[in-house]
């Protein structure tokens, strides 16, 4: 709700007092037919780590981006999404006001404010923070889309290489934010998952009713998280560094720390989780057709008086090959969550590996068809508390029709 209010204020400010402008509207809709493996997903309070429980036709993505820019260097964009899956079906996934003053020189600056993603991901570079490569995104960026957003400010110093007659461009960026206190919850109980469902501004992510989580004598927490709440008043921050060699090689490092007080708790009994991580991303455009993208994240999160403490690692490596109107992508994911806390009954260990293969074909500028096959093997210790096998193999096949304008 706060974000929607902010959006209206931005619109009101921007609609007055500026010269030439042209509001741009872009959109994208994906409709799929999914062959699911029948394993209930977290949306159905199950323990599967794929988004779909049942086979059938779905609206996979539906989003509209409204943006405008002004000659003084100010621009804004708002992205509204409809999701068939999940608790909040209609809402805002990003709303930001950017200021990039017109300036020469070798080192320049820009800033943005609003509700947006830090530029951690080299995978999510399509409209609406989607991936142009696969439909089912990496474990790392599926989680970022679920639990991480920056309701705050970001300041960036950057140096375009061409302005220095250099092959290298760099950026240093820093952000401060509020409203990410529960970030880390879903990793600690459900673990990593692979999907393309971004949380919306006021969203709630359900998960399985693990007895130790619900039990008043144990964790006493609902089996959901609302990731964008603020409980403790602390400012979180992140720092990032980008280094590009022409546009051929891109490296990104980010350090994120929400600085949450792990003892803070809401009336809903949602906790603030102190979540920190390092993320390293690399892209190499090997030639005009073939690219390699990889990312590694390592971090920790804790809640209460070390009632839950986990460290987590996830990585992926992806090759994507473009031939004329075809794009073929193959990604391997590995992910792991390990606990080291004072509540041994509440099981948090999970891990898995996954292979995602996708073919996407542009019929024209507006229409695209594609298919994807996904396999994973994953383990979650807390499935035992629901009398389920801890290790499962999952598969998912998608056929997707996409329209963009």
């Amino acid at each position: 709700m706060r974000v929607i209010n902010l959006s209206f204020i931005l619109l009101a400010v921007l609609s007055t007092g500026f010269a030439v402008s042209a509001v741009e509207t872009k959109g994208l809709v994906q409709v799929n037919y999914v062959f699911a493996d029948g394993q209930p997903s977290w949306f159905e309070n199950g323990t599967g780590i794929l988004a779909y429980s049942d086979s059938g036709i779905n609206v996979q993505q539906a989003l509209v981006e409204v943006s405008d820019s002004y000659s003084n260097g100010i621009s804004f964009s708002i992205i509204a999404n409809y999701y068939q899956r999940g608790e909040q079906n209609l809402g805002i996934s990003q709303a930001q006001l950017r200021y990039k003053p017109l300036m020469g020189g070798k080192v320049r600056w820009r800033a943005r404010a609003g509700f947006f993603y830090p530029k951690i991901s080299l995978e999510n570079v399509d409209l609406g923070w989607l991936s142009p490569y696969t439909y089912t995104q990496s474990a790392i960026n599926s989680w970022i889309g679920e639990e991480l957003r920056n309701p705050g400010l970001e300041f960036t110093l950057y140096s375009p290489g061409r302005a220095r007659r250099s092959a290298y461009s760099w950026e240093i960026t820093g952000g401060v934010f509020k409203g990410n206190d529960p970030t880390g919850t879903i990793l600690s109980w459900r673990g990593f998952a692979l999907h393309d469902r971004q949380s919306l501004n006021n969203d709630r992510i359900p998960f399985a009713p693990y007895p130790t989580v619900l039990d008043e004598q144990q964790v006493f927490h609902p089996n959901y998280v609302e990731p964008f709440h603020e409980f403790d008043g602390h400012l979180g921050f992140y720092l990032g560094a980008h280094l590009d060699y022409f546009q051929k090689v891109k490296f990104r490092y980010y350090y994120y720390d929400n600085q949450a007080d792990p003892k803070a708790i809401s009336f809903e009994r949602l906790y603030a989780w102190r979540t920190k991580f390092h993320s390293f991303g690399l892209q190499h455009n090997i030639n005009k057709n073939l690219r390699f993208i990889s990312q590694w994240m390592t971090g920790t999160t804790t809640m209460g008086l070390r009632a839950v403490f986990v460290n987590y690692d996830a990585w992926f490596a992806m090759f994507s090959y473009k031939l004329d109107r075809h794009r073929l992508s193959a990604r391997y994911d590995g992910f792991k969550v390990r606990e080291d806390d004072f509540m041994p009954n509440d099981l948090n260990n999970s891990n898995g590996k996954a292979l995602t293969l996708a073919w996407r074909y542009n019929l024209n500028k507006a229409w695209q068809v594609g298919v994807e096959q996904h396999f994973n093997q994953n383990f979650a210790a807390n499935r035992a508390t629901l009398l389920e096998p801890t290790e499962i193999d999952q598969q998912q096949s998608l056929a997707v029709l996409q329209y963009r304008w």
């Binding site: 030439v20 402008s21 042209a22 741009e24 943006s67 820019s69 002004y70 000659s71 260097g73 621009s75 964009s77 950017r98 990039k100 017109l102 020469g104 530029k119 991901s121 999510n124 570079v125 399509d126 142009p132 950057y158 375009p160 290489g161 061409r162 302005a163 007659r165 250099s166 092959a167 461009s169 022409f246 546009q247 051929k248 455009n285 005009k288 473009k322 500028k365």
Partner: protein, 214 residues
């Protein structure tokens, strides 16, 4: 560009006597020719004014300025179309022409007048890798070298200052200026660069299909 220049020359010298063609070469110390170097002859005789001709074009194609270097005569109009399906924000802080132009998708901006001689360095505030140049000269006799580092022009008889410009030339440009007298014979004029040209960072023109640039 060449069509425009040809019109200018036709207009100017419809009653003049032409000399045979003049060839200008730009070579470095290794004897290698260099392309995309602006060459211009400034006449010593009465100066010429520009005719009423179509604006020159500095396009944006695949998030690049096309051409990378555009030479125009002083008081030319330059149109900045946007052939991309995304917006650009073109600017220059150069003394010869300071401006900014929002080029929205499918938006046709009015052409701009370039009334001062000199270098106009162009950038785009959306796409930081974009770089282009408009070089404004006070003569109708100008052009750019081809892949071999050569440029050919028919010039009327007279005395001229032959000058060159490229953002990659490290030599003092004044030292490269030649005073030439054109007669009714063909000639080849060679400009030798003492210092190597700066590296052409043309790899910036290999733009990634996907990026998180807004």
């Amino acid at each position: 560009m060449f069509i425009r220049m040809s019109f200018a020359i036709l207009w100017l010298f419809s009653s003049a006597i032409y000399a045979k063609e003049q060839t200008v070469k730009i070579v470095d110390s290794a004897g290698k020719g260099h392309p995309n170097v602006v060459i211009y002859f400034e006449p010593k005789q009465a100066s010429t004014t520009i005719s009423d001709i179509a604006p020159a074009i500095m396009d944006q194609i695949d998030t690049q300025f096309v051409p990378h270097i555009l030479a125009v005569q002083k008081n030319s109009m330059v149109q900045f179309p946007n052939s991309d399906s995304i917006k650009h924000h073109v600017y220059s802080f150069s003394a010869a022409k300071t401006f900014e132009l929002q080029l929205y998708k499918d938006f046709k901006a009015d052409p701009l007048l370039f009334a001062n001689e000199g270098v106009v360095e162009l950038g785009c505030n959306v796409h930081d890798w974009m770089l282009g140049y408009i070089f404004v000269v006070d003569t109708p006799y100008f052009g750019k070298t081809n892949a071999k580092g050569e440029w050919v022009i028919d010039l009327p008889e007279g005395d001229y200052s032959l000058k060159v410009w490229s953002p990659l030339i490290q030599d003092n440009l004044e030292s490269l200026t030649k005073e030439v007298s054109i007669s009714e014979t063909s000639s080849t004029l060679v400009i030798n660069l003492a210092k190597p040209m700066l590296q052409n960072l043309h790899q910036y023109e290999q733009v990634d299909e996907f990026s998180d640039y807004e």
